[in-house]
Symmetry: C2
Subunit: 222 residues, 2 copies
């Protein structure tokens, strides 16, 4: 499968790119607003993979080009860039493309991090609203510990909850998620259930702050 | 330590009562709006514990009496009974009592269960607002799987996030939580961080609904 990681130069994008390239046979292309930046990062990832004896090509391209050639487009951008990023690739995706939204909106005050719920209910639903009507959107990868994900020596042993209204699209993303060693995909139901998943991310940051020895946390349902 | 479980006849109250009586030396009193009902349940719990060779006394009393004799009062009642229950025991608690709020507000629609956030931010903060000013309130036990908790043969291996603004009160509740075998207490910071913890409960219900073999779930931060 061809996966485009838009915002694949950022921390969560880096981790997903490295894990998919390392653990699976999927082809990964890094997208960025600037093609140069995407290419430089792709080369960096290739070097990292090569140092572990994995000889794969990771390509880099401008977001639009990366999206055009992909079966699955992961919107690994901050929540405030989500709508812009989707608009920029709207002509490059169609009903055979799956858009994946891992973004979470957070705000910080003196007490800690908090979920910043958009008016439509969740950032994932915001993505669905911004996407062309015939392009399925799936929510996944909201609560992954970025540094641990990008460290191929680190074990995961965590879950990601997948939500979506298009069953085939959910199945594709579930399979992609399960391809990453130590990551379990669990079905969260329809897109409308995304808010409670997204809200875990600020909680993980608060827990890491207040507990010695707990950092870069993921979540597991047991 | 003397623990009162108001609403101790309900499912989460039953589990906490049985676990504390089985795993620790704390004294447990079951509270209910009707003393008779509390006494009957307490006797039921004693019988269950006795069948496992644990000879302890579990008392039952009206909420007010139960609260009056306790160091820690757990408000194991539904969110919509929380304010009433606190008002009913307001004269029976003082600055040496710790109130513990495990309640979560949820709503259900055709998509699944959702967190029903009160105007003050969380149900735990609602409890703090209803409590007498000098009585510390701690949030804990929000995401426990009730049936598994009440089944002393079941392993837990899960976390509970503890939040509060009074450090001593948080320490007391943390110690109580850790007394239950297989339950780890993690510090979530101040009360203002409670909403993201409470929101996990509807998510656990949605995940259980959509995944074969996953039911009566708890959460673990790893």
């Amino acid at each position: 499968m061809d996966i485009a990681l838009l915002g694949g130069t950022g921390d969560i994008g880096e981790g997903l790119a490295l894990r998919w390239a390392y653990d699976t046979d999927h082809s990964v292309v890094i997208g960025s607003r600037e093609a140069d930046r995407a290419e430089a990062k792709a080369e960096e990832y290739e070097t990292e993979l090569d140092s572990r004896g994995v000889d794969v090509t990771v390509e880099g391209a401008a977001n639009s080009e990366a999206a055009a050639r992909a079966d699955v487009v992961v919107l690994a951008v901050p929540a405030y860039h989500l709508s812009d990023t989707i608009e920029a690739v709207a002509d490059d995706v169609d009903s055979d493309t799956v858009l994946v939204s891992p973004a979470v909106g957070m705000k910080r005050d003196e007490d800690g991090f908090h979920y910043n719920e958009p008016g439509v209910g969740s950032v994932t639903e915001l993505a669905a609203g911004a996407a062309p009507d015939d392009v399925p959107v799936v929510g996944a990868f909201h609560n992954l510990p970025a540094a641990r994900l990008a460290n191929l020596d680190a074990d995961l042993g965590i879950d990601t909850v997948v939500v979506g209204d298009d069953e085939d699209a959910v199945d594709i993303v579930t399979e992609l998620a399960e391809g990453i060693e130590g990551l379990r995909a669990v079905d969260g139901g329809p897109l409308a259930n995304a808010a409670e998943i997204e809200a875990i991310t600020p909680l993980l940051i608060n827990v890491a702050k207040h507990n010695d020895g707990m950092h870069d946390l993921g979540v597991r349902f047991d």
